[in-house]
Symmetry: C2
């Protein structure tokens, strides 16, 4: 027995994107209860040179889409990157979940050693295998942005617990 690349990626991203979406519901409810604009929360950052919540959510979806799309070698959905409200962010999360759930295990499994070359906006390139892309890059980055989104909202005063971050494991 070993772990499949599919099981290490799709159900995990779905679990934590679903919990992230639910955390955004709690952010919307908090904003309404406190009579603050949701945009105040979405533009909160933990340090002046860190991304605000809205970008943390976008980047979490990017890492999920890019990891699964590159592993499967299929066209990836593109987003406007102008999402500025909680409903728009939740819609982006939904589209991300729909995309990665549309991928079959056979499209992802077996690509552990696949060479994947990524060109960054700066022009720099980096080469991965399917396995190193997922384990050393995509998952840590994905968790980084999901956690920081949670941390920003905790810092804003939302009553959230670790269970809100963890969500519920998904069987796919």
């Amino acid at each position: 027995m070993t772990i499949s690349l599919y099981q290490s990626s799709v159900p995990i991203f779905v679990q934590f994107l679903t919990s992230l979406s639910a955390v955004l519901d709690k952010a919307a409810a908090y904003a309404e209860a406190k009579k603050v604009e949701p945009s105040v929360l979405l533009n909160t950052r933990l340090a002046p040179d860190m991304f605000p919540l809205v970008r943390q959510v976008r980047m979490a979806t990017d890492h999920a889409v890019n990891a699964c799309g590159r592993l499967a070698g299929v066209d990836m959905p593109s987003f406007s990157n102008s999402e500025a409200t909680i409903p728009e962010l939740k819609d982006r999360i939904t589209k991300t979940i729909d995309f990665i759930k549309s991928l079959k295990p056979a499209q992802i499994d077996g690509n552990e050693d696949k060479e994947i070359k990524i060109t960054f906006p700066s022009g720099a390139t980096r080469e991965f295998t399917g396995q190193s892309l997922l384990l050393n890059n995509s998952l840590p980055n994905f968790y980084f942005h999901c956690t920081t989104a949670y941390d920003i909202l905790r810092h804003c005063g939302l009553e959230l617990g670790k269970r809100d971050f963890m969500g519920t494991p998904v069987q796919l």
Copy 2:
């Protein structure tokens, strides 16, 4: 090809524990430069009911030790849980890395379906397979605490970048 449980755990924990230790070095240098007590940083939290930095670091090591120890089915090192300085936390990280690096792939691989029952301090129990323990519980929790440690220090003003979080992949 599939991913091995060992490759999904030991080298990943070592990579991010090593970067966490290096981030603590930067925290020590920052405290010295700003002439603040390191304990001020270690006791900073993002919300009154979140754990401070010192506990985030301890919990990151706990998730790494517990995941690898339970997968391998070996005795795990115990810590004093009284570490209160940066050198003490770094020593705990070093001991964690030494422990998980001492485990051989053959001790971890093949335990994907192993039944692992965990009894929490509250008395509650939860059952996992080796795979679900690692993918759905240990890794997300580990990344949560590593990220929150980083976020706390960024919030304190440290000049850190994503590279400090990511560290360097480890070949084991």
